[in-house]
């Protein structure tokens, strides 16, 4: 039997995790449904305008990101508590299997549960809303017009950071991870801005977004420095790399965990 991954052992671990935490997760789903119903229902009730797909998408992204970050920060809570951590780390399963169970629950299953809850509430709200004679329009997750499916990529990024924080920190994982994330983003903006100023001899006073275009003003002329269109797609690789890096960092942290 492999010391890295064994499907039967992974299944056993998944069942054990579900048996021990399933009730709490079901309660979370109920809370999610309740919150969605209260917030979306209230808006539909008090607002005269119908709840059009962009507003629906706003709710989906908000709950997916915030709810996902909160849920992910708790999925490795067993490693933060000394008593639970001893039981978890000495259980005969590999670090990869232990990490994958948390990953599966917090990324795949949470995404499915969140989207499922959203559509249950959304379908009800949209059908009861006043569309002023227009046909009711439910957000199509796969519609290229709204690109709601991009929420999955944004959530992957958020999840990667949250899962690393969940394993790394022992207390207040969500607060500490969020704090570190925002400090990191602010530092990146400042360093990036200073570097650009230094490289371009202070010819731009505009805000410079990391990995974004740069607007230059030389005399009365304005220029934009940007990647050629055919190479812009490479910028998409960066978040994917960061996601992979944080997921990997989380896994190695489980491997290095000491009590």
């Amino acid at each position: 039997m492999s010391n890295q991954f064994n499907l039967a052992r992974f299944g056993r671990l998944f069942r054990k995790h579900t048996a021990e935490h399933g009730r709490g997760y079901l309660l979370s789903v109920a809370v999610l449904l309740g919150l969605l119903a209260v917030l979306m229902g209230t808006q539909a009730y008090v607002q005269n305008d119908p709840m059009i797909p962009p507003i629906q998408m706003g709710y989906l992204i908000f709950f997916l990101l915030l709810g996902g970050a909160m849920f992910t920060s708790t999925v490795f809570a067993s490693l933060a508590d000394k008593k639970q951590a001893i039981a978890a780390l000495t259980l005969p399963a590999s670090h990869l299997e232990k990490y994958l169970v948390g990953w599966l629950y917090s990324y795949v299953l949470f995404t499915l549960a969140c989207i499922g809850c959203f559509y249950v509430v959304d379908a009800a709200v949209v059908s009861f809303d006043n569309w002023h004679g227009r046909p009711a329009e439910l957000l199509n997750f796969f519609d290229a017009k709204y690109k709601a499916y991009y929420a999955l990529l944004v959530y992957a990024f958020m999840h990667a950071i949250a899962i690393w924080g969940a394993v790394y920190f022992e207390k207040m994982q969500l607060v500490k991870t969020a704090f570190l994330f925002f400090i990191g983003v602010a530092a990146l903006f400042v360093v990036n801005f200073q570097l650009v100023q230094l490289l371009l001899d202070h010819v731009t006073g505009n805000m410079v977004v990391p990995f974004g275009d740069i607007d230059l003003g030389i005399g009365k002329e304005h220029y934009r420095l940007a990647l050629p269109t055919e190479k812009r797609q490479w910028l998409g690789v960066l978040p994917a790399l960061l996601v992979g890096l944080f997921w990997l960092a989380g896994y190695f942290r489980v491997q290095e965990k000491q009590i």
Partner: protein
């Protein structure tokens, strides 16, 4: 079974708790790991089972580094910490979801141990008293039939009848293939249970000896005034002056674990020095 070689360990940047520690534990024995509070017994056990990693040296279980926590090692190892965690499941549900991780788990043995401990298997674990929870986890651990069972202060929280049951069950669980390690600071809890005593004192293993060998070399008795010349260690007790003397007659007696531990932990070197030197040197 367990080989600790030149182990050095410390928490963070603090002074090392162990330096160049050597210890070998074999199958077919029940070891009693004794030490005062704070001597590092729990830390040593955590090193053994891979919950903390050595700064230097190694700790191996059947040749594999404990720190890697490989499933093949873990499925042949059961660790019962001093403070246990139980999920909000019934005993039967816990067994249904956990026993499968241990290839040699015996449901029949578990039922026997639970019956002896008088622990119901339909009760929810986290609603049980601490003592009941501990007895359940001890029974589960022994029913895993792992070759290595490590228990940290298992008798803490057990009442007196349960301690008697614990000793009986532990003794019955020992086989030639198993190595049982029990740490405690309550020395009397291990009376008539262990066959080898390991004493941890001042960051060192100062004693690692089988009780049979100790009984051959030492005599545990009470002495009167005037008998002090032969005494290696003595202390006042309710029965008089309890003492450890060289066993010069060869008569086999019972080892008083508490007295032996007090002698070693008191810092007096006479008993340890005597044990380090062969008998014939003493007689010259």
């Amino acid at each position: 079974m367990v080989h600790i070689h030149n182990l050095s360990f410390g928490y963070g940047k603090r002074a090392p708790l162990f330096e160049n520690l050597q210890l070998t534990l074999a199958r077919g024995h029940i070891y009693g790991l004794l030490g005062k509070n704070g001597a590092g017994k729990s830390t040593l056990l955590k090193n053994m089972v891979g919950l903390v990693f050595p700064r230097a040296g190694s700790c191996r279980i059947n040749g594999q580094p404990a720190a890697k926590r490989l499933p093949s090692v873990l499925e042949d190892l059961y660790f019962l910490p001093e403070e246990i965690y139980v999920p909000a499941l019934t005993a039967a549900q816990f067994v249904a979801n956990t026993a499968g991780f241990y290839p040699r788990f015996s449901h029949a043995q578990l039922a026997t141990y639970l019956a002896e401990f008088e622990v119901p298997d339909h009760a929810v674990l986290d609603k049980m008293s601490f003592g009941q929870q501990k007895k359940f986890m001890i029974a589960f651990g022994l029913a895993t039939n792992t070759s290595l069972v490590v228990m940290d202060e298992p008798t803490n929280g057990l009442d007196i009848p349960s301690k008697v049951q614990f000793r009986r069950i532990m003794a019955s669980a020992l086989t030639e293939e198993r190595c049982l390690i029990i740490s405690t600071h309550q020395v009397r809890d291990l009376d008539s249970l262990i066959d080898t005593v390991v004493v941890l004192h001042n960051r060192e293993i100062v004693l690692n000896a089988e009780l049979d060998q100790l009984a051959e070399r030492l005599s545990f008795t009470t002495v009167r005034e005037g008998q002090e010349a032969e005494v290696l260690y003595a202390e006042e007790s309710v029965r008089g002056r309890a003492a450890i003397l060289p066993n010069t007659t060869g008569a086999y007696g019972r080892v008083d674990l508490e007295l032996l531990f007090n002698a070693v932990a008191s810092g007096e070197q006479s008993v340890l020095n005597y044990l380090k030197h062969p008998v014939y040197e003493q007689s010259i």
